[in-house]
């Protein structure tokens, strides 16, 4: 049989596509997924410190409470919420709904707006209300 793999058509590379909202959010879903993967280290550090005693816990809490720590945690919160909302769009598509062009473009934009708004809301509750 002829070498099938060599003769297969290649999919065009990313840069030939026009940059559109659904594409941007697809890329963001992947970036936030990878960011959460790395961010799991933060969760692990917090849990392990809590399991290791008060001194360790206070050290980790101080790191998280520092300016840089807070910036990183804010980014982590946003990545989590963005990926969660994006995941809901994936579940919708996997169930067979929401493929109309205008609708999915609207949802892509809404994903970004919602994730930023919800992240700010979560931090407002933590910093102001609690």
């Amino acid at each position: 049989m002829a070498n099938v793999t060599k003769n297969r058509p290649l999919s065009p590379h990313l840069q030939v596509y026009k940059f559109i909202p659904t594409m941007a959010m697809s890329i963001m879903h992947r970036i936030t997924g990878v960011a959460l993967y790395v961010g799991t280290i933060l969760v692990a550090a917090w849990l392990i410190a809590a399991a290791s005693g008060e001194d360790y816990f206070n050290q980790v809490n101080d790191l998280f409470g520092s300016f840089l720590g807070q910036v990183i945690l804010f980014g982590y919160t946003w990545a989590l919420i963005h990926h969660l909302v994006g995941g809901l769009r994936h579940i919708m598509w996997d169930l067979g709904y929401g493929f109309e062009k205008e609708f999915s473009t609207m949802l892509a934009k809404a994903n970004l707006v919602a994730s930023i708004a919800l992240t700010v809301l979560v931090w407002a509750v933590v910093l102001l209300v609690r």
């Binding site: 849990l47 392990i48 809590a50 399991a51 816990f57 998280f64 919160t77 989590l80 979560v122």
Partner: protein, 126 residues
């Protein structure tokens, strides 16, 4: 001699011989992760930055500990599979791909194990 047509070969379990297993596990874990992550965000809102005694007390609650243990398991499975897909998409050299897949599996297991033991230790021993 293999008499099957190219179509016959890819039917069923496909070239990776695991069929839709990978896809399906990413989806099922993502569905259970939605409520789990909402709980987790709520928990962080309530306890992030709180003193040691308060946090340990909350983590030791059997309900919270159970949810946390399940969250760790679902997240680790999901993130390992997700990262596998990313590696397979971008790393084309067979050796580097294999090495990274092993690093990914090891990292996921290690972090998952550490989190799980931490959750259980607090639940059982405070």
């Amino acid at each position: 001699m293999d008499m099957r047509t190219p179509l016959g070969k890819v039917r069923g379990l496909g070239s990776a011989k695991t069929g839709t297993d990978h896809f399906w596990k990413v989806r099922t874990t993502s569905v259970v992760l939605v409520p789990l992550m909402l709980f987790y965000i709520g928990f962080l809102v309530m306890y992030a930055g709180r003193p040691y005694a308060e946090v340990v007390d909350a983590l030791a609650n059997p309900f919270v500990a159970t949810i946390n243990a399940l969250t760790v398991i679902a997240s680790i499975v999901h993130m390992r599979l997700g990262m596998e897909e990313v590696i397979q998409d971008y790393i084309h050299s067979e050796t580097a791909k294999l090495a990274l897949l092993i690093v990914n599996a090891s990292f996921s297991l290690l972090v998952g194990g550490l989190c799980l033991i931490a959750v259980l230790k607090i639940a059982f021993a405070g």
